[in-house]
Amino acid sequence: MLKVSNLSVDYGSTRVVKNLNLALGDDEVLMLVGPTGCGKTTILQALAGLIPISEGEIQLGPWRSTPQKSVPPEKRNVGMVFQDFALFPHLTVQQNVCFRLKDTALADHWLKLLGLENFRHVRPASLSGGQKQRVALARTLAHEPAFVLLDEPLSNLDAALKDSLRWEIREALKAAGIPAIWVTHDQEEALSIGDRVGILNGGELEQLDTPERCFSEPASRFVARFLGEASFLPGQLQQSQVETELGMAPGIPIDGARGAVDLLMRPDDLSLLPAEEGNGVVDWVRYEGCSRLYAVTVGSGSQVRVRTSHEVHADPGDRVQLAIITTHPLAAFARA
């Protein structure tokens, strides 16, 4: 089990990763997500041993790496899948996958599993992006690493491919029974693929929890906003109920919030109906195919986002009636 304690990494004089603590379960897929520059790639490079660490320690099985005594990458038995694939251009697919292997049985297994049998003797230059990434994955898994690091593996692929390949990779990791840390900037990917999600902001881990909990009980406004459309409605918290201008809703206080709070609402927590005497005015509307997203300004002046089915139609400037339809508790933050 990979254990990271108080990890800090400096780049020049700036501290890019601050005091990171995490432990990776035996076959867990942990997503690390955050905006650009939050340090996620740096964490991967530190875990791989490609850059030195300034404080803290990384430990896996027999080896332990500290700032004074660093374990070189080739001794860590860690696998990495790169954003730009990093396939050796002068070797064929077969040679890439079997790079340091004496026995090709495992390589054959992965090539077959990932549908690359026909490409064994081809050089990477003639493969498509998706095929290249599959080769990279096969190469990593064939070398039986103790854990795998994935650095935005799908960033360079088109959207259509991303979705299917995403699941293929997760299946492969689970089939191999190897834990992985997967870095992405796509929050949809983070929420759907990961067993746990870690949200990073400015080098610090704001929350590390299951996708559901991160989404519905975000540890901070930042996490809330990052993981999806977030609207904040002022209200009063009294004994697990929050009273707002749109009605009552069950609430969970975050960080010991009491009294005056801002309630976190997701677009599907509200319903919208055009009404002459409604409690809100539409600012703009976005057609999304099977749904519509509205931005509505309510009495207190806050703007909330509401998603309805495509059949509900209102135009900007129309009066609408909003109601809270959610039954599960909503996160309530202390009012700023």
Partner: protein
């Protein structure tokens, strides 16, 4: 990389340091030789200094003016027999510049060959313009080859973007492509500058009083320490040039598929018009002049063994130079100290040949069993021409995607294994180019060969000098032709190696 309590030196540093110091040893010897001299600069030398600087600056400008367009054409334009054109255009590197100077001097001017044969009066070729012309013709390939290598790794998408924004192809080449190969051009220009600074033969024949002329007069007057002291002063200029070149900073880019241009028929003829005078002046003219004299006077005394001697000494030098260049080039990429070590190796290239030869004699005498053997001669070539190889290897290694080595390390390869299996094969192209440059320069080298080769070891270059000094100009035709042919062969081998090693080193 951050600094930590335990300072980690890149693995290439120790070896690179040893090699750089080795290349600097002859310069150190010069310091020892110069110690008895109090000869410092005086006012008379100022005129000589200005001639030297002017010659260097004009030659660099001329080489860039010729070399860059030719690089663009040979890199991007789809021509028939493109490889052949490249070989022919790079061939002037094989011809000693004093041969070019002499034949141009003999061909032009009142009473020159052209006037005699064709009856056209021709202006005389001498002085600063003449010397500039000659030096440019025989050193523009440095710029052409280094620029071409840079151009080949530039991604075409920026040019395509510029063209969709309305720029003509010419404008986009000028504004979008050339600024990005500034380091490539500068690297070639550096070699041209150093070559010009150290050349003696051409200014002597063209009657231009340069620094090397003063050095040569001192040397011939048995003022070895004065010659050494003046050479050291020349090295100050070398240092300045090195400093200026290091200031040229290009942008680090991801390599991509390079541009390809298909010229129209008219443009093809235009290019032909550009190639032809250059090739005629630099190669055809000297060979034709010698050929005429050959027909008039007959040949004699030439032994094919000379060609073999040239080839195998140069080939050995090229091989050893590339091997030694690898640690130095990687050190130069790794950090500031490494870059400094790389710069040290350039000084040997800027010292006038005859002085360098004497310094190397002193060095060689420290190892008497090696003195006047082929091994010492090869070593002398390597010490002198190492920067040619280092530049090529370094620029290819810089273009290598670092994640490839990281990937290899993570798959369990030690740094050494990663270097052997990944870095080396992917930088072969640079190594072959570097070897070719060293091969060409060694083929035409004269003073070190005369002083350090085994007694009786005659190369094409030394034979050429011998018959030239004796006035048997007709006999220079065959060795001259062989020099060009063998160098062309070497270049052809280099280009075929380039094609086979044409991998997209980004891993994309």
């Amino acid at each position: 990389m951050n600094l930590r309590p335990a300072l980690r030196w890149p693995a290439s540093y120790p070896l690179a340091l040893v090699i750089a110091l080795l290349a600097f040893v002859p310069v150190g010897v010069l310091v020892g030789l110069a110690s008895d001299s109090a000869e410092l600069f005086d006012a008379h030398n100022l005129k000589v200094l200005s001639n030297t600087l002017l010659l260097m600056v004009f030659t660099v400008l001329g080489s860039v003016a010729i070399g860059v367009p030719l690089a663009l054409i040979t890199a991007y334009v789809q021509l028939r027999w493109r490889r052949l054109w490249l070989i022919v255009l790079a061939a002037p590197l094989a011809i000693p510049s004093y041969i070019g100077a002499f034949t141009l001097y003999a061909a032009f001017g009142r009473g020159g060959e052209i006037q005699q044969l064709l009856g056209w009066p021709m202006p005389a070729v001498n002085g600063l313009p003449g010397a500039t012309l000659v030096m440019t013709l025989y050193s523009y390939p440095f710029v052409m080859l280094t620029t071409r290598a840079s151009l080949l790794s530039l991604d075409a998408s920026l040019v395509n973007a510029a063209r969709t924004l309305g720029m003509t192809i010419a404008a986009s080449l000028w504004r979008v492509v050339l600024p990005r190969v500034a380091t490539g051009i500068a690297a070639g220009a550096l070699l041209v500058a150093l070559y010009t600074l150290s050349d003696f033969g051409t200014p002597a024949i063209m009657r231009l009083d340069t620094f090397t002329r003063v050095i040569f007069v001192e040397y011939n007057a048995f003022g070895l320490s004065q010659a050494a002291m003046l050479s050291l002063q020349l090295l100050v200029i070398v240092g300045l040039v090195l400093f200026l070149e290091s200031r040229v900073r290009g942008s680090k880019e991801r390599p991509g598929r390079h541009l390809t241009l298909w010229p129209s028929r008219a443009q093809k003829w235009l290019m032909f018009l550009v190639f032809t005078p250059v090739i005629v002046m630099s190669i055809v003219l000297p060979l034709a002049v010698f050929g005429i004299w050959l027909l008039r006077e007959g040949a004699g005394g030439f032994d094919v063994a000379y060609a073999w001697n040239s080839a195998h000494a140069s080939f050995l030098a090229a091989l050893v130079a590339v091997v030694l260049a690898i640690p130095v080039a990687h050190a130069a990429i790794a950090g500031r100290a490494g870059r400094f070590m790389e710069r040290l190796t350039y000084f040997g290239f800027g010292v006038p040949g005859i002085v360098m030869g004497t310094a190397l004699v002193y060095v060689g005498l420290q190892l008497p069993f090696l003195y006047q053997t082929l091994a010492l001669l090869v070593l002398a070539y390597v010490l002198r021409f190492l920067p040619l190889a280092v530049g090529s290897v370094r620029s290819t290694a810089e273009g290598l995607d670092p994640s490839l080595v990281k990937a290899a390390r993570l798959l369990g390869a030690s740094p050494r294994e990663a270097f052997q299996r990944i870095t080396l094969p992917l930088t072969i192209r640079g190594m072959v180019a570097g070897a070719a440059l060293v091969f060409l320069e060694a083929m035409r080298e004269l003073p070190a060969t005369l002083m350090l080769g085994p007694t009786g070891f005659e190369t094409l270059a030394t034979y050429l000098w011998r018959v030239y000094e004796a006035g048997y100009f007709g006999r220079a035709a065959i060795p001259g032709l062989l020099l060009v042919l063998m160098s062309a062969l070497g270049l052809a081998l280099m280009l075929s190696g380039e094609r086979r090693a044409e991998f997209d080193v980004t891993g994309k």
